[in-house]
Symmetry: C2
Subunit: 429 residues, 2 copies
Amino acid sequence: MQKNVIKIGFLGLGTVGGGALQILRQNGEEISRKVGAEIEVKRIAVRDLKKARALEVDAALLTDQVEHVVSDPEIDIVVEVMGGVEQARFAIEQALENGKFVVTANKDLMAQYGQQLLAVAKKQKKNIFYEASVGGGIPLIRPLKHCLAANRIKKIMGIINGTTNYILTQMSKEGKEYETALAEAQAKGFAEADPSNDVDGWDAAYKLNILAGLSFSGIIAMNDIYVEGVSKVKLRDILYAQELGYAVKLLAIGEESEAGLKLRVHPTLIPQNHPLAAVENEFNAIFVEGDAVGEVMFYGRGAGSLPTGSAICADIMDAARAIKNEIQNCVIEANFAAKKVVPMEEQVSRFYLRLKAKNEPGVFAKLATAFGNERVSLDMIIQKRSDEQTAEIVLVTNDVSEGSFNQAMDKIREMPSIQSINSVLRVVE
Amino acid sequence: MQKNVIKIGFLGLGTVGGGALQILRQNGEEISRKVGAEIEVKRIAVRDLKKARALEVDAALLTDQVEHVVSDPEIDIVVEVMGGVEQARFAIEQALENGKFVVTANKDLMAQYGQQLLAVAKKQKKNIFYEASVGGGIPLIRPLKHCLAANRIKKIMGIINGTTNYILTQMSKEGKEYETALAEAQAKGFAEADPSNDVDGWDAAYKLNILAGLSFSGIIAMNDIYVEGVSKVKLRDILYAQELGYAVKLLAIGEESEAGLKLRVHPTLIPQNHPLAAVENEFNAIFVEGDAVGEVMFYGRGAGSLPTGSAICADIMDAARAIKNEIQNCVIEANFAAKKVVPMEEQVSRFYLRLKAKNEPGVFAKLATAFGNERVSLDMIIQKRSDEQTAEIVLVTNDVSEGSFNQAMDKIREMPSIQSINSVLRVVE
């Protein structure tokens, strides 16, 4: 017999949980009509029962015991929006073992333990939905799992961290230095007090792990991903990039080649007419390239209470439909395989390099020779006088492996005429 | 007991059907792994058994009888890619009544008879999947049905016809006149020998009907949509638009307001920095604005054999999963309601107007007065001398209802100093 009321329990009621709850209230009637069953919030576990909340919540719904949600036999779906890894992992495992469907926005958790948790879900003939873990409300997980499922995905590339994109946009549009832009992002709530998870690239790397796993049906370890953040990007580099026709963006890139998977997150120069160059401030955009569909792009707000709540609610609706239709064993991500990963040393890029050299004859020839010896050819060069004694040189190389580039750089660093290497960034056309 | 082999039959094997078949062959192993069952093509109905085909097909699979597909008891899924309305409608009804799931790329059919067919599917506890009917391989139907399902959709706006976008891009980038651009599009296979379905806006209107129906849960009749094609757009207007900071695109726009639905397809001036202005040639892009998610955009190739085949195959996979999981009654579009539609007369736009007037004192004052009497204020004006006797005037109005604008135009047409009204286009900011 089909259920007419689906009961859900929340773990956490912060920004994302609050957003989801607000949408369930605001659009509840439509949501129930579409699902064909009423969605009832039965219990909400919070850390502090007495905390003041933006959203009015019946005190009888609240509990400070996770157990009261994950073990309540009436609850069909557990919505994990408490964050953190260990406690959330334990709670989700319990929920699955108690026969519940799970919805989560937890990217750190899904990146690191997604496969294990999905295996538990499979064993229990339930499922975990995690659309909200990447790209806020932008549809990405479902498109990869369903709409593009007939494609062999060749590449994914995108801006999947709103905080760093806000910082880089402010630097490039308003001419702000990194530190100023970061402080403003913090003041506006786009960056946390400890911004390291965002600015060091880890947030993007967790999300890339999830997207690449789905795209390439691969089990990916976090240390398979090369991660470099934006904290070393200088306003000066952004201005030079603009002069050369590029914008600087923190890109997450995943590719499958015959040699294996290539997975990396780093600040990147991309041509100003590339659609990703136009993605500003807290917005996200992700290109997916499939062998059949070609390139498709998804764009929108990658974070925030209501956008992320939108994804959570879509997942709740799909879980509710699965329950209503008594679907068993709908987990399709649980037969992923470990894949060979191409070491960063062997990956090929173009490079942007900014350095200071003594303003003396023959310096440039020595530089060019050092690159030439490693078969690195140069595509663009800007040389400006810095002061009487010093010249600032900006180079863009053609394609070269990280290994060869680094060998050339080792030699360049030893040259007496080179005063400082100020910046090394990668370039994607 | 779960099925291990899902058998499908094709109706038609043209561009789209051929693309889908090619993908099923090329990525068949992966597709079967993801579905958890083998997908076997059992029968293909074609018009002409002897026609030479790009794709090699076992002659034993072919039949020239639709009946052999829709009535074969072994076939689980019927893929309708034969096009046309009446015969396809009858075949799909038969297939549903014989207990089959249906996948279709037929936008004309789904726009005009989608609700009736979905009602049959509901009665039969089957479903119709039609992702390929709009936007080729770009995920749109599933995002609206699932990913954004918790949102109240406020607006959809996009470029959903590749042929006209190719023509307008060639006009604006290469300075070609409409007729030249159209002839080239025909030579390249982007436009048909009889291009009227595309250039008159009907293809976009069918797709808007489908998208708006899903977005607003509404039953929409084709004559609820205001449709204007691109054949009257002159190169001269595109150049003036550029001078004023706009690009000209054929937009399909659907909005839900308190007064009702607003549905229209027409060539539109949009600001050059709007993301849709950057969508070139045969590409499509669609903005969706939801109350929770904000604005999201989907971008990619809106037509072509493999991109559209990608959507067909995704639908085959979802249908196969539904069969494997014995899902009954998964139709969620069958409880749509008729909605009030705001007549075009009452819709509000800004307008671009190009006209020729006698080069004599007071002409502009008369024009401005005619607009002022209808409370139409002017935002931008360009006046150029055409020859000794004639001035060309280009105006952009502020927001005004179609009704008031047309009344002003009626008066202006009667003025002796006005020689010709050369162009009227709408402007969206």
